[in-house]
Symmetry: C2
């Protein structure tokens, strides 16, 4: 029985393995080895071997893993086979883009609905997902047992929304807002700050050009 | 003259200040202080004061900053006032969602076009942005002087695409793919891995429920 508790580093690499395995054509044979995966992804094969061993005990020397089996084990380990319901708060541009994004189900995420304080948005549908007023949030979350909350409101509202989500039973927050959220122990905040990413990219270019002495 | 070279930590907080300042109504007065910003965002006000001083030298004791002035200084510092052109490679679900996302211009990002190897996508338009075949990438990048490349291809193609972007003159890569990219010195890779985020969220829930002894 493999150890089901893995390091954050391993956990961060597993989705890449899964994505690669899913993408391999049937013509590549039934088996796949850590070496093949390591080569394809530019990783050290000792690392890949160790990562896979923590997820599956079915690897065999010289043969490797049965690909479909390893896919299922990775999916199970990552929770992709057991779809998690989520709610999204803030149905502005980013919120609507996420509501409309059709790629989440393959990662086991199912956004049930969007919530927004703006009465103009209430009742609207984005890609078949309803936008509801905030006062309906606690009821839906408690009734369905939703544990993931996605925050796409402006930064200055994010803490208030986060508090509301936690009161509604949310245990894991995916935060796209420009804000440092404070949460009680046992609640996870995963930050996905595109504004920060863009600031880092832009700053890198600025530094590159200032050392080169011109923007060309 | 403030020091224009700031820490990554400061750089990561600046977008939140800007977002908050932009959101403040005109009714809140002409001035704003570090204390007010710190309180709104749940940060330590010594930290905010120091961050702002690295961007603007115009803060005055007891009065603070002229809000509009500080907004312009932050925009300038973050490069939001000087739009950067970008290309996106991989016009699948995520790529199309990013092409359609209307929030980037306020962060100084302008996606010129999407690129994809799939002939079925070639010539298609997403929110007014063309999807072009990969062979047109180098020409467009060199001609327009594009320095930001966004990667939204499956992980196993990401390194190849990254190499092509760098050959085309890209200096900063915004990587949404499930892959560890290897780049020459002087090239920045900013990773935005939603699959990893979702794996971390899902793993957190699994741990929560296993310690509680059940998924309810």
């Amino acid at each position: 029985m493999p150890d089901r508790c893995v390091s954050k580093q391993t956990l961060q690499r597993l989705p890449a393995y899964l994505s690669y395995l899913r993408s391999m054509g049937a013509g590549r044979g039934k088996h796949v080895s850590a070496t093949v995966i390591a080569e394809a992804l530019g990783l050290n094969d000792v690392v890949v071997r160790k990562d896979l061993a923590s997820v599956s005990s079915k690897g065999r020397p010289k043969v490797g893993y049965v690909r479909q089996e390893l896919i299922r084990e990775l999916e199970g380990f990552l929770g992709y086979d057991n779809s998690q319901d989520a709610v999204l708060v803030g149905a502005g541009k980013l919120g609507q883009a996420l509501l409309a994004y059709r790629g989440f189900p393959q990662y086991g995420l199912n956004i049930l609905a969007g919530f927004d304080d703006d009465p103009a948005l209430s009742g609207k549908e984005i890609a078949g997902k309803k936008i509801l007023p905030m006062e309906k949030l606690p009821d839906l979350c408690h009734r369905v047992g939703v544990h993931i909350g996605i925050i796409t409101v402006p930064g200055e509202h994010a803490q208030r929304v986060c508090d509301q989500l936690i009161e509604s039973g949310i245990l894991a927050v995916w935060n796209f807002a420009n804000a440092h959220l404070q949460v009680p122990e046992g609640i996870l905040v995963q930050n996905e700050n595109m504004a920060v990413s863009l600031a880092l990219l832009s700053n890198h270019l600025k530094e590159r050009f200032s050392t080169k002495g011109g923007a060309g």
